[in-house]
């Protein structure tokens, strides 16, 4: 990979746990991070000069253009307001509901049945695996912006093991 090679040459260290993450830390209070996803680069950090420098190098080497502040990335929308940063996945949820044909369903306030016993299920009807996996995968992704569903998602995903 050419881009990987060049990023490493610039002195950034590849993250061992997370694929596509690179970190440059020159001192204790100075950190610059790059998130690489296919052909998109997210650059963040607390040193403005380092970010500017990286952007210049990327422009020079790969003819990349800076698209300014992060606004939409992998189905997640980021809005900067004066109080901080707002993150939501409204568009992704709308698309998911469209795909599953569930746009007109009535809403509920709890995400899991009380005393749910998933393992001791009596009904032995097998369901369509593709559809179930599609739903489960989407829900795992939605956990990023909705931590309140984490437990319910873990219950239905736990049976994979």
């Amino acid at each position: 990979m050419i881009i990987d090679h060049i990023i490493i040459q610039l002195g950034l260290k590849r993250c061992t746990d997370k694929y596509g993450m690179y970190v440059l830390s020159l001192s204790d209070n100075d950190i610059t991070m790059i998130c690489l996803y296919v052909d998109d680069l997210l650059i963040t950090g607390n040193n403005k000069d380092a970010i500017k420098n990286l952007k210049f190098i990327m422009h020079y080497e790969f003819e990349m253009t800076g698209l300014g502040k992060l606004s939409y990335f992998l189905g997640t929308k980021f809005i900067t307001i004066k109080l901080g940063i707002v993150m939501h996945q409204q568009k992704y949820i709308c698309e998911l509901l469209d795909r599953l044909d569930m746009t007109n369903c009535n809403i509920i306030i709890n995400q899991l049945e009380t005393n749910a016993k998933v393992d001791e299920c009596i009904i032995k009807d097998k369901v369509e695996v593709t559809m179930f996996k599609h739903m489960a995968g989407s829900q795992r992704y939605l956990c990023n912006s909705k931590p309140d569903i984490c437990f319910a998602v873990s219950i239905i995903n736990g049976k994979h093991e």
Partner: protein
């Protein structure tokens, strides 16, 4: 591994329906305020046009609460006076009632 029963699908659908109900909620990562020391708590806020106003209401509510400091932040020795706390909560309530 591929042993998905009907119950699982029902549970999965239930989560989707729940998600539909919370579609207007997003995450706010507040900028660290030196006065309130809220730190990096993430709160759910409603994404509508007046996002800044609601955000302010929530910040007023959260900045007065010492319990909701981010983990790792040393607890400040001086707690806010009760009148100030009451005032903040009242302000937050007023703003929220006005908007929802």
């Amino acid at each position: 591994m591929n042993d998905h029963r009907k119950y699982h699908l029902t549970a999965a659908k239930r989560i989707i329906i729940y998600i539909k109900g919370t579609i207007k909620l997003g995450f706010l990562f507040p900028i660290e305020n030196k006065e309130s020391k809220v730190g990096l708590i993430a709160i759910l806020i409603q994404i509508i046009v007046e996002i800044d106003v609601i955000g302010e209401a929530f910040m007023a509510m959260f900045s007065c609460s010492t319990m909701l400091q981010s983990p790792g932040t040393p607890r400040s020795n001086q707690s806010l006076p009760y009148s100030r706390v009451k005032q903040s909560i009242l302000l937050a309530h007023l703003l929220l009632v006005k908007l929802f």
